[in-house]
């Protein structure tokens, strides 16, 4: 499908608000692009049909008023013939237009079939209330990566995301990249997309899943293939060793306090899968599934009172004396 109407549409809507990195009208890959062009086609046809219908209504009303005002004589038989023809033509046109739309949709569906034969990347996403766990599978178990709350993909090749849920029904939706897929417990489904250029795209949970459905976002980070290999290599490494005594004390606090009961950091004894994995926490752009930008202050606020930021979340408030908090932040800040 030609890119020109796409471009024109995007330009036209650019001024109408919305963030470009989380919009179905700013496609960044072939899947979303196919849907966007289908949308513009449908919009054009719909507008024409609508204007025709409302126009016919307005004309009919105006003409009838004029006829009554002028006291013109009516010819019921002729009127009946004309109306029969008009309604029949209208009905036939409706059928033709709808058929045309259906055929166009079939073409789009064909273009959007999962390209399993081509080279592709497989990633597994599991939805939880209210965070995402991401697994990058590999035949060799030591090369597998478990991550959370940020999805890293390469550009230029198809990405097949196998989605499932741990608890209730969620839905993964990255509007720039593809339509959504529901994450249903005990079902595994596949969402596929391909990203054209590197960048960070917004995704969000799109199926009501409880109190914090609104704050379950997932940044999708697309790397050029070479950069992606580098990222994957870094992700496979265990957690960075603490650089100074304060960070070492922070690690002690992490392991001996409530943190290790729910969070895993590879390379340490902490291995719980209840909450998000924290091995490379400091390299993430956001905290708490896209709720806060990552940073020392936000992390401190989140640790001390997550219920204020995301009421209902499973993470409890952790009261730490200031020195311990500083140490913990120093350690977590080093987990690149």
């Amino acid at each position: 499908m030609s890119a020109r109407p796409l471009l024109l549409g995007c330009v036209a809507l650019a001024g109408c608000g919305g963030a470009r990195n989380q919009s179905a009208l700013a496609p960044e890959g072939p899947v979303a692009g196919e849907v966007a062009s289908l949308w513009w086609f449908a919009l054009a046809v719909a507008t024409a049909v609508y204007l025709a219908t409302v126009g016919a209504l307005a004309w009919a009303a105006w003409r009838a008023r004029r006829r009554a005002a002028r006291g013109e004589a009516t010819d019921p038989a002729r009127d009946h013939r004309r109306m029969t023809v008009a309604v029949s033509v209208g009905g036939a046109l409706t059928v033709v237009i709808l058929l045309g739309f259906f055929v166009r949709d079939l073409a789009a569906a064909r273009a959007l079939r999962i390209p399993v034969t081509r080279d592709h990347v497989k990633i597994r996403v599991t939805g939880h209330q209210w965070w995402w766990s991401i697994e990058y599978p590999h035949p060799d178990p030591s090369q597998r990566v478990t991550d959370a709350n940020e999805l890293h993909v390469p550009t230029g090749i198809p990405v097949l995301v196998e989605v499932t849920s741990h608890d209730v029904i969620h839905s993964l939706w990255a509007p720039n990249l593809a339509g959504k897929k529901d994450l249903i417990p005990r079902y595994v489904d596949t969402l596929w997309f391909q990203v054209d250029r590197p960048g960070v795209y917004g995704a969000q949970c799109a199926e009501f899943c409880g109190h914090q459905h609104a704050k379950m976002a997932l940044p999708v980070v697309a790397h050029a293939p070479r950069d992606y290999a580098g990222w994957l290599a870094r992700a496979r490494r265990p957690a960075a060793e603490p650089s100074d005594s304060m960070a070492r004390r922070g690690r002690e606090i992490f392991l001996s306090g409530p943190c290790a009961l729910c969070h895993a950091i590879t390379g340490t004894p902490a291995g719980s899968r209840v909450g998000p994995e924290l091995t490379h926490l400091a390299s993430r752009r956001t905290l708490a599934a896209g709720t806060l930008p990552n940073g020392k202050g936000n992390l401190a606020a989140w640790i001390l009172d997550p219920q204020r930021i995301k009421p209902g979340t499973a993470m409890p408030a952790t009261a730490l004396p200031p020195a311990d908090l500083e140490a913990l932040l120093a350690y977590l800040g080093g987990l690149q």
């Binding site: 306090g257 409530p258 009961l261 209902g312």
Partner: protein, 175 residues
């Protein structure tokens, strides 16, 4: 017309008063101090006392009738692997939790102490590990397994395997 409205209004108020009694069950308390951060009075786990018995003040767990807290307790029970020793209430390495035998007492403060301090023969001490409000949620859930919490605050089953018969009892256990 007005007499009809009057009598209707009266019955609505009565019904409201009755229903308000169940209000606490539905509260979702996200950021509130748990019932008592550290029970200060002495919690006895033995019925044996020298001399005249000192009546212990019973501190009830405000979470007992709170459906949200019991449900969170159920999830925490799974997450912290209590089932590893207690199964889903039936016991294994650890004693069953859904029967009427309580080695160290079934009062909320006693169960709290058992979880926080640990107990001989294998019950770990979770104090400093599990935050306080989560311990109280676990206390509420454990009590619900034995049928000690109001029936309407307990949910019937979790959404994983092996339904907990202890949390949906049609007939209360003999005490």
């Amino acid at each position: 017309m007005s007499s009809r409205c009057g009598s209707a209004r009266g019955s609505v108020l009565l019904a409201a008063a009755v229903l308000l009694a169940g209000c606490d069950r539905e509260q979702r308390r996200f950021s509130e101090a748990p019932p008592s951060a550290s029970p200060s009075e002495i919690v006895r786990v033995s019925a044996l006392q020298p001399g005249p018995a000192i009546i212990a003040s019973s501190s009830s767990n405000r979470y007992d009738g709170n459906a949200y807290a019991i449900s969170q307790g159920q999830r925490l029970y799974t997450w912290f692997n209590c089932a590893g020793c207690h199964a889903n209430g039936g016991g294994g390495m650890g004693p069953p939790l859904m029967d009427t035998t309580w080695i160290y007492g079934s009062a909320p403060a006693q169960i709290y102490r058992s979880i926080v301090e640990g107990r001989p023969n294998g019950m770990p001490s979770w104090g400093g590990r599990i935050p306080n409000e989560q311990v109280w949620m676990l206390v509420a859930y454990v009590r619900s397994m034995a049928g000690l919490t109001p029936a309407d605050a307990r949910s019937s089953r979790p959404d994983h395997m092996m339904a907990l018969p202890g949390s949906q009892i049609l007939v209360e256990p003999q005490r």
